[in-house]
């Protein structure tokens, strides 16, 4: 459909062009100037965006060669030859240039000047009017294969963003204003609010003008706007314009903004793929590439059902969750008993209608209009009413809370079911939930694999495998296989598992697939915040409770329409308008006011800006987004390109940290920055050790650690450790791969949850630890030790943000650094203070470049590790003159990459034998920690990962203080080497790693211990 439209419009364009040509030469030049000016003027939006576009295109080109053809439907592929012919004339690079030039040149009378793509296309089109179809195909081919620009054009024409349409109309009426229009268009592309405003004025003009608009559109290759329709949980449709090439994040952001939702990470957007399957929109990827159709219909849904909704911060979040659950219950997706149906229904009534009013005429009326259960009947409605009466006096928020308290207990709450067959071909259902993977046969639970039990998740074609950690009595891990209907469903299940595991079990999202383990296939990783992170972040939310309406009127009306089941997704699909149609009618029909549009566009521009530039300090939300992004693979890439971004982001976080510190000063932005610096340090203890026990004991405050400088290495690293190591080796590759791999091979992929993942019970504790760390930092920062972390409570809240940001940054950096060899201090995260940077000396650890990433079991025994020399972040690098000698088993996973499926078993974890004496350097004091955490140690877990000569141990401590929980992670890195160890380097690397691994945590203290049996060398 698109293609046809495109051809028609283009033809018309040409006609128009010719008609107007005579008049325009002058104008054209003017236009050019204006365009240039406008671009400059709009610097924020326009220029940058332009740049961005170029980059994207370049990327595209790179990928195009390999990947795009894959995406093409078969019929397109067949015609590839045609497309190429068209494309031949213009090389990809030319295109880019041509695009740039096109804008300016377009107005010019002579099409020849434009040359390039446009010409070709136009000519063809003219000739081919009769052969429309053919042409259409060819153009589409061209666009798909080689010409991003053309593609956009076509799509644009079909999509016809309102702004463009408006401009088009203007053209028709007023030629003189064309220039301005062009400006507008340009602006529109950049999504400047002003532009939209202009556009709006003209927007109302007749539809006829729309046809003409394509001309312009074609010329402006860059931003084509598409109207997405998002079905919201209350049953309404939210139309919003999105740049055609926009990533999922754009849409997410707009929807969240529209909903005024801050606790966003539990939600997601779904779309229906070409097989009518619901898929989650990946925020890090282009929307267009995901939906692969012109059906820009989405629905907003809960993606991760919080196990305890009462922990959500805002009522609006709970409200949205309620809406989702009501739908789940009403549709039967969430089965429950009669009584529960009635109870939930009664809370719904209470929330939406308030107290039961006996006088109300025919109270059953509104009940029957509402859908509470799949098999709703009179009896149930009466029961609902009866219960409703008992809720008198309950306000809507309370009713929602009660609703959730009851709903969360349902056994199928938050369970995402997938059809499958077991190894014997028996039909079963696989349920993915917060705790793991459930296996159902009919309605019976016949097996369950908790996340901690799962070593690896993978799929190959339509087979889905999980590798199970051996039980106490078993020796070997086992692999359980399931068959899914097709490879798409297998992949979908796999993705859902990866995301759920990451969200519920990890402290921070896993570093994208740098890991060598995941060799083949999809590099997909969860890119959002984890539950831990989002809880921390939401604890920082400081705004008056937003007003929102709880009316169910929309739902009611819908059900009246005859859609008994309130299924948002269905609703979306039902609409099934074609995109262009929607544009015209819908954009206006939806009582979208100009203001709305303006607002949206403004938000978009804001978003863009935040992407391009350093994050705006003011709005907290964007920052958070950025954090999310940063953690995502895409972000990493971006980060590399634009290092400056990170620092900015980090700033806000720091502030929070400052608060934690309880120092009034720190709260100030300026101060925060300083704070950050301090915080940045990762505690690394590098030492040789004989016994783990030693390590703990030995840790003592080092005199060296100056106030701010000394940070505790605690980072949540449990999972990370392994990953990091791997990452370092493969980091480069991984990135490359990740870029290229975005296309995701559908065939297979693996995911090893355990490696990176922390222990389930520890989740809470980890958070606590963070806080603790902060406290410690504060203490140290100001007074080294003397200050006590009384302010801990404060810390907790602000902390998370900082940590996450910094962590993310760190991650990015780390990846890069690791690759490079950890040397660049300068590259350090923006978050990092200068002090830290200096620290980053090359560490001996790097020596293990090929570090075999070992996946150890969480409980891996800690081989005697000893903390090494304390490194106070920068100032003092403690060099251990004497390198400890350790005999280590080396596990090399180098092949994994290529091999794809190498599984590293826990058993494979290398064992380090320490022969050496331990020299202990005590730089930092563990005492600090003790002081820092008044709380109780709830859990401690140790994960050990070893590289050739490095052993990393992580302890996670939960502390409860007052109502706050703090999570402190202590990471101990033991480096045993036969040769001299560069402690500085090791320290630097460790810090980097820590940051990478625990983006949401901050480093409070770094302690370096050097241990030798000769204690002589203590610092």
């Amino acid at each position: 459909m698109t293609t046809e439209v495109g051809s028609e419009t283009e033809v018309k364009e040409k006609a128009e062009e010719t008609a107007t040509q005579p008049d325009q030469p002058e104008k054209a030049t003017e236009d050019n100037q204006e365009v240039a000016n406008s671009e400059n003027a709009t610097a924020e939006g326009g220029e940058e965006e332009v740049e961005v576009v170029v980059e994207e295109e370049e990327d595209k080109k790179e990928k195009d060669g390999k990947g795009i053809s894959r995406f093409l439907p078969p019929w397109l592929k067949k015609q590839k030859s045609q497309g190429q012919v068209v494309a031949n004339e213009t090389s990809p690079t030319n295109k880019v240039i041509s695009e740039a030039t096109e804008e300016e040149e377009a107005p010019a009378p002579a099409p020849e000047t434009n040359g390039h793509i446009e010409e070709v296309e136009e000519k063809e089109e003219v000739q081919s009017e009769e052969v429309k179809q053919k042409e259409a195909e060819s153009t589409s081919n061209a666009s798909a294969d080689t010409q991003p620009a053309t593609e956009e054009k076509v799509t644009e024409s079909t999509a016809q963003s309102p702004g463009e349409a408006k401009s088009a109309t203007e053209d028709v009426k007023e030629e003189e204003q064309q220039q301005q229009q062009k400006k507008n268009e340009v602006e529109g592309k950049s999504i400047e609010p002003a532009a939209t405003g202009d556009g709006k004025g003209t927007a109302d003009e007749g539809l006829s003008s729309i046809f003409q608009s394509p001309l312009r559109l074609v010329r402006r290759n860059k931003m084509k706007l598409v109207v997405c329709h998002v079905a919201l949980l209350d049953g309404t449709d939210f139309p919003c314009e999105v740049e055609k090439r926009a990533k999922g994040q754009f849409l997410f952001f707009k929807v969240y903004e529209h909903l005024n939702l801050m606790e966003r990470d539990y939600f997601g957007l779904t779309y229906k793929d070409s097989h009518e399957q619901r898929c989650w929109l990946d925020p890090t990827k282009d929307i267009k590439r995901q939906i692969r159709s012109n059906n820009w219909q989405f629905s907003f849904n809960v993606k991760f059902y919080p196990p305890d909704p009462s922990l959500l911060t805002e009522d609006i979040t709970r409200y949205l969750l309620c809406l989702q659950l009501r739908e789940d219950v009403a549709s039967g997706r969430l089965p429950c008993s009669f009584v529960t149906h009635a109870l939930l229904g009664s809370y719904t009534l209470q929330a939406e209608h308030g107290d039961y009013e006996p006088d109300q005429p025919q109270p059953l009326d509104y009940i029957t209009k509402q859908s509470f259960a799949p098999n709703q009947n009179k009896e149930m409605e009466e029961k609902i009413l009866e219960l409703h009466k008992s809720h008198r006096g309950m306000n809507p928020a309370q009713a929602d809370t009660q609703f959730l308290e009851n709903a969360k207990k349902l056994s199928m709450y938050g369970v995402d079911l997938h059809r499958a067959k077991d190894s014997e071909g028996v039909d079963i259902m696989l349920g993915v939930c917060a705790n793991g993977l459930l296996v159902y046969k009919d309605k019976l639970r016949i097996n369950r694999f908790a996340w901690p039990k799962i070593l690896k998740i993978s799929y190959k074609r339509n087979n889905y495998y999980i590798k199970i950690r051996p039980g106490e009595s078993e020796q070997f891990e086992s692999t359980v296989g399931f068959k899914l209907p097709n490879h798409r469903s297998a992949k979908r299940l796999w993705k859902v598992c990866v995301e759920n595991h990451s969200f519920f079990r990890l402290n921070s999202p896993e570093v994208p697939p740098k890991a060598r383990f995941l060799t083949l296939g999809s590099k997909f990783r969860y890119s959002g915040r984890t539950q831990t992170q989002t809880r921390l972040a939401s604890s920082l939310i400081d705004r008056p409770a937003p007003n929102f309406e709880r009316t169910s009127s929309k739902r009611i009306s819908r059900s009246l329409d005859g859609a008994p089941v309130i299924n948002i997704t269905e609703a979306g699909s039902e609409n099934g308008h074609e995109p262009h149609l929607e544009l015209h009618s819908d954009s206006k029909d939806h009582d979208k006011t100009q203001e709305d549009v303006l607002r949206h566009q403004a938000s978009i521009s804001q978003l863009k800006r935040s992407f391009m530039e350093a994050p705006p300090p003011s709005p907290p939300q964007p920052n958070q987004w950025e954090k999310r992004f940063s953690s995502s693979p895409a972000a990493t890439l971006r980060a590399q390109h634009h290092p400056p971004e990170q620092p900015a982001a980090s700033v806000p976080t720091e502030v929070s940290a400052a608060d934690n510190n309880s120092f009034p000063d720190t709260k100030e932005p300026g101060k925060t920055a300083q704070v950050e610096i301090e915080e940045t340090h990762v505690i690394q203890e590098v030492s040789k050790e004989t016994k783990p026990a030693t390590v703990t004991v030995t840790v003592s405050p080092s005199p060296d650690a100056p106030e701010g400088v000394a940070l505790q290495p605690e980072v949540r690293e449990q999972e990370v450790v392994v990953v990091v190591e791997e990452a370092s080796d493969t980091a480069t590759r991984a990135r490359q791969e990740s870029v290229s791999s975005e296309s995701e091979s559908d065939e297979e992929a693996e995911y090893q949850p355990n490696l990176p993942s922390p222990i389930s019970h520890t989740l809470i504790p980890e958070e606590k630890e963070e806080e603790v760390e902060e406290v410690e930092r504060e203490e140290q920062g100001e007074q080294e030790k003397g200050v006590e972390p009384a302010p801990i409570t404060k810390e907790t809240a602000p902390h998370p943000i900082e940590a996450s940001q910094s962590a993310q940054d760190v991650e990015r950096e780390n990846g890069a650094e690791e690759e490079k060899g950890e040397t660049d201090d300068s590259t350090e995260d923006p978050m990092m203070t200068p002090d830290e940077v200096p620290n980053g000396h090359a560490l001996p650890e790097e020596e293990a470049p090929g570090m075999a990433a070992l996946a150890e079991e969480e409980e891996a025994k800690v081989n005697g590790e000893s903390p090494m020399a304390d490194s106070e972040p920068r100032p003092q690098v403690i060099c251990c003159s004497e390198p400890p000698v350790v005999k280590t088993e080396m596990v090399t996973i180098s092949d994994t990459f290529a091999a794809q499926k190498t599984h590293i078993t826990t058993k494979e974890v290398p064992i380090v034998h320490t022969e050496t004496k331990t020299i202990t350097y005590e730089a930092a004091q563990l005492d600090n920690n003790g002081e820092g955490d008044p709380g109780v140690l709830m859990t401690a877990q140790t994960i050990t990962s070893e590289s050739l000569c490095t052993t990393t141990t992580t302890h996670i401590t939960k502390t409860l203080k007052g109502g706050l929980s703090e999570t402190r992670i202590e990471k101990r890195i033991v480096i045993t080497g036969d040769s001299d160890i560069d402690h500085d380097q090791a320290l630097a690397q460790a810090i980097k790693e820590a940051k990478e691994q625990h983006p949401d945590m901050s480093v409070t203290r770094v302690v370096v211990h050097k241990e030798t049996e000769l204690a002589e060398e203590d610092e």
Binding site: F338, L444, I446
Partner: protein, 266 residues
């Protein structure tokens, strides 16, 4: 409400007297390993124990006792727990494996109806047998959070499915019954979130499966004798908790393990 907050709150107890035909039903002879099958059944002792049980339930625990008179035609009718599974306001009338026992349900059905419970009949669908579903209540362990259904000689998957369909609010997991004829023979609830289970190998196997399948954490109280694993935990109205268990003579070794403040029964 729909969801049980804490396990063990009961309002009524339904019992059925020991008939004079006690021991002729075939159940005991075939299955009860603990009681020497060869030995002649001691009707008098059984009736005596029944008296102790009802007395404890009524007077010590303070439950409202509904006693169904014994029916000599139904020698196993005293196993009243087999024919109904009641949770919340819903009673599932089960379909015992042995045809002879299905008549036992009649009296119980009447009782639960009078209690104005929602009565669900297993076997109401699919031509009257729910696809061949069989289930006996002594294979059902309700923990307050979820159901475990022991797949045994008496209970099959289909029966468990019907149960799952009846109590939709809860997860229903199936576990193999090892080391005993019935799930309740080897384990039972000994308190909120506490499972009392026999220490036998078979029971351990079953326990492992339960642990694998559950999302919750239960305390496990392992007792040396099977007989000791069969008890009833009741949360009294006055915040007093009761654990009804077999007399110490029957499971002497387990007495040391058991909790202190329980009431002895029988």
């Amino acid at each position: 409400m729909a969801n049980v907050c804490t396990y063990g709150r009961f309002t009524h107890a339904i019992v059925r007297g020991v008939p004079t035909s006690f021991g002729r039903g075939g159940e005991d002879r075939a299955e009860e390993g603990a009681e020497p099958a060869a030995a002649t059944v001691d009707l008098a002792k059984a009736q005596r124990q029944f008296g102790v049980l009802t007395g404890a339930l009524r007077q010590k625990v303070g439950l409202q006792l509904i006693e169904i008179p014994p029916d000599p035609e139904l020698p196993d009718s005293w196993r009243v727990e087999d024919v109904a599974v009641i949770q919340g306001d819903t009673a599932l009338i089960t379909r015992p494996f042995r045809l002879q026992r299905r008549a036992e349900a009649e009296a119980v059905r009447r009782v639960v109806s009078e209690l104005s419970l929602t009565v669900v009949e297993m076997g109401a669908e699919e031509g009257g047998d729910s696809g061949g579903a069989t289930l006996e209540g002594s294979d059902v362990l309700f923990t307050g959070r979820e159901f475990f259904v022991g797949i045994s000689d008496h209970t099959n998957y289909r029966g468990a499915e019907v149960l799952a369909d009846t109590f939709r609010d809860f997860a229903v997991s199936t576990v193999p019954v090892c080391g005993g004829a019935r799930l309740k023979n080897i384990c039972s609830m000994g308190g909120p979130d506490t499972i009392v289970i026999s220490n036998s190998d078979g029971a351990k196997k079953t326990l492992r499966m339960m642990e694998q399948l559950t999302d919750h954490r239960y305390e496990v109280l392992a007792v040396p004798e099977d007989a000791a694993a069969n008890c009833i935990y009741v949360r009294g109205a006055n915040q007093r908790d009761f654990l009804l268990h077999r007399p110490a003579e029957e499971c002497p070794e387990s007495m040391e393990v058991g909790p202190r403040n329980e009431r002895t029964l029988q």
